[in-house]
């Protein structure tokens, strides 16, 4: 053995270390790969050695190679070996390597759990630190689950170095194991007020990160953060908090109001640019959230815009960039204030820095108006020409389209100009956005009827010069525009000047080099054109010409029939046959034009992109049900054709009626018109102008195309958008002149009918009349479409799992999995959780959990109301300008809080509750409400006081936490006890009180059907006593029962809740009652009854309430409490479990525990404090109690004695 050691260390002399490796690689520039593979072989040898130092050295080298791109996952096991080395030097190498290469797919990662746990609890803070750092990089759901509790313990470590790391890593744990969020949150919140700035910063960091994803759950922390904001001097923390507020304000406008002042103060006072910038950002967010209803913030907007202008004008490019970024946010709600700085933005468009130009582009989006659109786009077009690099040019292109098409082409006054711009854009080389241009062309042509003639002329020109577009095509997407061009020319062929020429252009052999889906559109639209031409020729009685066209098609179509693209091939051969048939008919001198045109009769209306999704599923339709029973497996070949149509635009997928006779067609058209007329979503200005089939009077229905004659109808060759700019200027000038004239001659006013808006406006944007009367058809949506936009949410968002309500109290079932039992901690902290209570519950059977959920929901309701109130409270306070002492506003508010502010959200909460709650449970009278409110205020004050005095006591808590006790686990416990049972039904019940309702308890009764009958019409009735009464629905007498709101099929159980009003709670009492129900089975139904005795123990009036030891001490000192005690002998159970039992069955919480002595606290629904001192001796337990009511205390102790006697 010794020899081996010596040999090992001699070997080591010759091992390369990291530096040698690096040097070697640098010396082998030519054959680096070969050298490295040699080194890897050596490393493999080294990893086989027993000496941990050698291994660590090897792993260190591997980490370097990983950086160079070599996969080192094969050494994962060796890395774990090095991680488990006892020396810090090696351990840290191991963890570094692991953090670089471990991930969720690493299978050996599960071997690390125990090692990491050991390191986390290492006495050396650096071992712990290095483990935390490593874990933060490779934590998996399993590791997170197994280690969550250990990490949570570390959050209260004595060393701030460990605390901050533990706090930070919790975020990763939450992400991987969302269930840990609620149990860990109270402690995380506590760390916001940690004395160490680093820990505090970490906690702020984590909460901000959480809140960014699900802000609404963190709204209740706003007061705390507000306090931090006004007291912290750490800019990092401030920035984070201010960013967080930016995310919260949209949810609570009142918060914004409160923030504005301190933020503007910061803006004025800080010299840190980063802080200034974030303040401005948040103020903007506030202004956005306030934009409706709060008029008086123009000063703040001005301040922001001013500050931003200073940033933008700064010579530092970074500030310029950020200034523009923030400016674009203001733009959304306050465009006017930004538009004043148009000069600055346009200037930035010429900046040498691309990032800045892009930001400036964003701003332009909001700066356009009818007036300046053309001018701005013209400027952008020159940039397009100058731009180097396709990304920027593509960005410009999309921006131009965005700007023009925004809010339904709101700013476009001249669509001819827009079409020309689009056509000009097709001349861009190498753009990826052909499809965007195409979509715009289609959209405009379909929705702006007046422009079709012009569009068609431009598109035919485009088709004619297709070779220009297509020549540089194959690489880029610009040929997509041909798709649009072909479709427009085909669909609106009646507007074509020279259809024959276009037809020929579309049948050129060159077309077959285009992508398949474009060819397919070509083929389809060739027929449309053909139909149009036939009709034209036949009307002119030019039989010869008509036959020539047919012949042309017969000759040219076969080139498409040979296409490799299935879609093209199929369409082409189908159409070829059709044309051949037409040819035969033509030969017999039969007029065919009508019938061919009939193929394309009818109008296609634009359909909104989401329309399909929004069609509601009709009632009674089950989409998953089989229409026919599935056939046997042998026939499973119907998969293929689906994909082919998917790329196509929706419009094309629309079916056209197959050849139908005239009558049938007319009938259908009629039906459709009828349907459209009845459809509220079908918005049209006039009855749809039918295309070819329209008979003469139909022409009147076409909206009058008021093309200004100053614009040439056809711009020869490629259009020049610039011309339009000039023309437009002239036109506007003309208009203005005319208008002036008109103003003088009022009588002529009627003529202004062409205007969309009559002249109510002053000389403003609105006043520029569009060149064409624009009839923008809205997109169709299905009837009953739901307006929801839920489909925008990504269901796979990992952060969605963290959307957890943190304000409801922890349920007993929620806890972090623990490996072993631990002693109770001193609940110094404001944590709601109660560890002993939690520990035993986790092992409970499922059924139990369900019940807990019910209870939890109940609690949640109450808590929600409370939370709303607290926040309202804080928000409704008017804040003094200077950073206030935290207590003051609260106290002021008690007197000053306006009633309305409190009332309103309460109503919301109740509304929300009503759904869940059918029992006539709470109908609190107003007076009661107020009373509670006061109660609560007092309590919050209490809490505040106690919190203030709480010194950090990690030192005390520490040894206890680590003192592990390996005790017998407690058997599962249930607070539900048997009420009554017969052959049909079993009833168990639990009684719960609430601090909000001082004279009410809720009895949850679980009814379990034990028979094979169906139980229905269940009704529960109780013989009321003077002291306790069952709350019955309004209007029923004291003898009526309360119906159970469900039925029970065989074997099913469900829980019903009943509310009882209690006068005095100091004595236990029993109520006699009956459950009546109808049991129905195959033989018939019988009426059954089950009598029971409902036992209200004094315990059932207690509510588990945490208490801090200082508050507890004060309570005892006050001397208002009377005392009583019991002693129980012969107890074998461990103290730990004993406490757990008391906590669970008697609803106490442990205040402090020292060795075998513990103080406990609980509170009754009527506000009695109950304090216990529990001491364990040899085989005996003594309980001393103090309570404000001696009767209650003695009764409670009696009940407790009973429980303890069973232990």
């Amino acid at each position: 053995m010794a020899l081996k050691m010596v040999k090992g260390s001699i070997d080591r002399m010759f091992d390369k270390n990291l530096q040698d490796l690096v040097r070697g690689i640098r010396n082998h520039k030519e054959d680096e790969a070969k050298y490295i593979s040699q080194c890897i072989d050596e490393i493999k040898q080294e990893l086989k050695q027993d000496n941990i130092a050698v291994k660590a050295n090897a792993v260190c080298k591997l980490t370097y190679l990983q950086m160079l791109g070599y996969d080192i996952s094969w050494a994962a096991f060796n890395i774990i070996e090095v991680m488990s080395a006892s020396k810090f030097t090696f351990k840290r190498i191991g963890y570094l390597a692991a953090s670089q290469c471990f991930h969720e797919g690493t299978d050996v990662i599960m071997l690390t759990t125990n090692q990491i746990r050991k390191d986390l609890s290492s006495p050396s803070q650096y071992d712990t630190g290095v483990a935390l750092t490593g874990l933060s990089c490779f934590v998996t759901p399993d590791l997170a689950r197994d280690l969550a509790n250990d990490i949570m313990t570390l959050m209260s470590h004595t060393k701030p170095y460990i605390r901050k790391k533990a706090v930070l890593i919790m975020y990763k744990v939450f992400l991987k194991y969302p269930e840990s969020l609620r149990p860990a949150f109270p402690r995380l919140k506590e760390k916001l007020e940690d004395p160490d700035p680093g820990v505090q910063s970490a906690a702020v960091n984590v909460i901000c990160e959480l809140a960014r994803r699900n802000p609404k759950n963190y709204l209740s922390l706003a007061p705390l953060f507000f306090k931090l904001m006004t007291s912290s001097t750490n800019n990092w923390v401030l920035i984070k908090i201010i960013k967080l507020f930016g995310a919260l304000t949209p949810l609570e406008p009142r918060l914004g109001k409160k923030l504005i002042e301190p933020l503007t103060n910061l803006i004025h006072s800080t010299s840190a640019m980063s802080l200034l910038y974030e303040c401005v950002n948040t103020v903007i967010a506030v202004l956005i959230s306030l934009s409706s209803g709060m008029p008086n913030h123009s000063a703040s907007i001005q301040l922001c815009v001013q500050k931003l202008r200073i940033l933008i004008e700064d010579s530092d490019q970074n500030l310029k960039y950020l200034g523009l970024l923030a400016m674009s946010k203001i733009l959304r709600t306050h465009p006017k204030s930004v538009q004043a700085h148009k000069d600055l933005v346009l200037q930035c468009l010429d900046d040498k820095d691309e990032s800045i130009r892009l930001r400036a582009l964003d701003l332009l989006y909001g700066m356009v108006s009818k007036k300046n659109l053309m001018e701005i786009v013209k400027k952008l077009m020159t940039h397009v020409d100058k731009a180097e690099g396709t990304t920027y040019r593509d960005e410009l292109l999309t921006k131009i389209i965005d700007i023009c098409s925004q809010s339904n082409y709101q700013h476009i006054t001249n669509f001819e100009w827009y079409i020309s711009i689009l056509v000009e854009l097709t001349r861009l080389e190498g753009t990826r956005h052909g499809h965007l241009i195409a979509a715009q062309m289609l959209d405009v042509a379909i929705r702006v009827k007046a422009i079709r003639r012009f569009a068609v002329s431009q598109m035919s020109a485009l088709l004619d010069s297709a070779h220009l577009v297509a020549s540089s095509t194959q690489r880029n997407g610009i040929c997509e525009v041909l798709y649009a061009a072909a479709w427009i020319c085909g669909e609106f062929s009646e507007h074509l000047q020279e259809p024959q020429q276009t037809l020929e252009a579309m049948l050129r052999p060159k077309v077959t080099t285009l992508p398949g889906h474009i060819q397919a559109v070509y083929v389809q639209n060739v027929v449309k054109l053909y139909a149009a031409i036939l009709q034209q020729k036949e009307q002119a009685a030019d039989v010869q010409a008509a036959q020539e066209v047919t012949q042309l098609l017969v000759e040219r179509l076969p080139q498409f029939v040979q296409s490799a693209d299935l879609e093209v091939q199929e369409r082409a051969s189908c159409i070829l046959q059709l044309v051949k048939h037409v040819q035969k008919l033509q030969a017999k001198d039969v007029p065919v034009a009508e019938e061919v045109s009939a193929l394309f009769a009818g109008e296609l209306n634009p359909v909104a992109p989401k329309a399909q999704k929004k069609v509601p599923v009709p009632e009674g339709l089950d989409l998953d049900a089989w229409i026919n029973e599935p056939l046997s497996d042998s026939e499973s070949e119907d998969e293929k054709p689906k994909a082919i149509f998917q790329d196509e635009e929706q419009r094309h997928a629309k079916q056209r009626p197959p050849e139908a006779d005239e009558q049938e067609l007319a009938r259908r058209r009629e039906a459709r018109k009828q349907e459209q007329a009845n459809n509220p979503f079908y918005i049209k200005s006039s009855p749809s102008p039918q295309k070819r089939y329209q008979d003469a009077p139909g022409v009147d229905h076409i909206p009058v195309v008021q093309i200004d004659l100053s614009v040439p109808l056809k711009v020869p060759g490629m259009p020049m958008s610039d011309q339009y700019v000039k023309l437009e200027e002239e036109r506007r000038h003309q208009q203005r002149l005319e208008k002036d004239k008109r103003k003088k001659k009022r009588r002529e006013r009627e003529r202004r009918g062409t205007r969309r808006h009559s002249s109510l406006h002053t000389e403003s944007d609105e006043d520029i009349a569009p060149a064409q009367r624009v009839d923008i058809v809205t997109e169709e949506m299905p009837e009953n479409a739901l307006p929801s936009d839920e489909d925008d949410k990504d269901p796979n968002d990992p952060y969605r799992a963290l959307d957890i309500d943190l304000d409801k109290p922890l349920a007993d079932s929620e806890k972090l999995p623990v490996q072993k039992h631990r002693n109770t901690e001193t609940p110094k902290s404001p944590e709601k959780e109660d560890i002993p209570v939690m520990e035993k519950k986790s092992k409970k059977p499922k059924k139990k959990e369900k019940k807990h959920k019910e209870k939890e929901r109940e609690k949640k309701k109450r808590k929600e109301a409370e939370k709303g109130e607290d926040l309202d409270f804080w928000l409704s306070t008017t804040l003094p300008a200077v950073a206030p002492a935290p207590e003051e506003p609260r106290v002021n508010a008690v007197a000053a809080a306006p009633e309305e502010g409190l009332e309103e959200p309460r109503g919301e909460v109740q509304d929300a509750d009503e759904d869940k709650q059918q029992e006539p449970e709470k109908k609190p009278s107003k007076e009661k409400k107020k009373k509670h409110k006061k109660d609560k205020e007092e309590r919050t004050k209490d809490k505040k006081k106690s919190k203030k005095k709480t010194p950090p006591r990690e030192g005390v808590a520490e040894p206890m936490e680590n003192g592990a006790l390996d005790e017998d686990p407690l058997p599962p416990m249930s607070s539900y006890c048997l009420l009554a049972e017969n052959s049909y039904i079993k009833m168990t019940y639990d009684v719960q009180g609430s601090l909000q309702k001082d004279s009410q308890v809720t009895v949850s009764v679980v009814l379990e059907n034990q028979s094979s009958s169906f139980l229905k019409s269940m009704e529960l009735n109780v013989l009321d006593s003077l002291n306790a009464r069952l709350a019955r629905p309004e209007g029923s007498s004291v003898h009526d029962g309360v119906p159970v709101p469900f039925q029970l099929p065989p074997g099913i159980s469900n829980e019903a809740q009943f509310v009882f009003t209690i006068q005095s709670i100091v004595m236990a009492q029993k109520l006699k009652g009956t459950l009546s129900f109808i049991a129905k089975n195959d033989e018939g139904s019988t009426h059954e009854k089950l009598d029971f005795k409902l036992h209200f123990t004094c315990t059932s009036y207690l509510v588990t309430t945490p208490c801090y030891s200082d508050a507890f001490a004060k309570l005892l000192e006050s001397g208002d409490l009377s005392m009583s005690s019991i002693k129980v002998d012969g107890i074998s159970m461990s103290f730990q479990n004993l406490l757990a039992k008391i906590c669970f069955h008697h609803r106490f919480s442990v205040v402090e525990r020292v060795d075998s002595c513990a103080s406990m606290y609980s509170r009754s629904i009527q506000g009695h404090h109950i304090c216990l001192l529990v001491k364990k001796g040899e085989k005996s337990v003594s309980v001393d109690g103090k309570c404000s009511d001696p009767t209650l205390l003695s009764n409670l102790l009696e009940e407790m004695k009973e429980t303890l006697a069973k232990c």
Partner: protein
Amino acid sequence: MIQAILVFNNHGKPRLVRFYQRFPEEIQQQIVRETFHLVLKRDDNICNFLEGGSLIGGSDYKLIYRHYATLYFVFCVDSSESELGILDLIQVFVETLDKCFENVCELDLIFHMDKVHYILQEVVMGGMVLETNMNEIVAQIEAQNKLEKSEGGLSAAPARAVSAVKSINLPEMPRNINIGDLNIKVPNLSQFV
């Protein structure tokens, strides 16, 4: 959150690659290359923020970088981080390196990648900013180095490595490339640290 921290030199050679989200090694290399090309194109006097970079994240992510002598320090962050704050953090990181290596130069990063990682670990943990106070960072690093020394260190013959580094033959890399000019003007951020 910080998604990745990359340090590479003017030729695109990686000196430190730290991802806080899993990418396979080849993708990592691709990202480094892509980032290098994005950054290389930019003059020194234009802004230090960069959008795009198709490989990491989406539109929510930005590259924030600084260029010191021969090295680029690039942080890829999402919108929860303050841009100017991160710029400052890079400065803190580099200044810390400077303190720990005593006049840091690229060679230090080349030969002591592990140490650079350890320093980074005290600044950023799991993608979140851990500490911004340089004195605190340096103190923790020194304490750990001390601990390592007391354990005897990794190399039994540290002298050998040191001498080797000193006599190294560096064809393209002039010696003592000093990152030196650390007082790069960060407008008004000085009291930030």
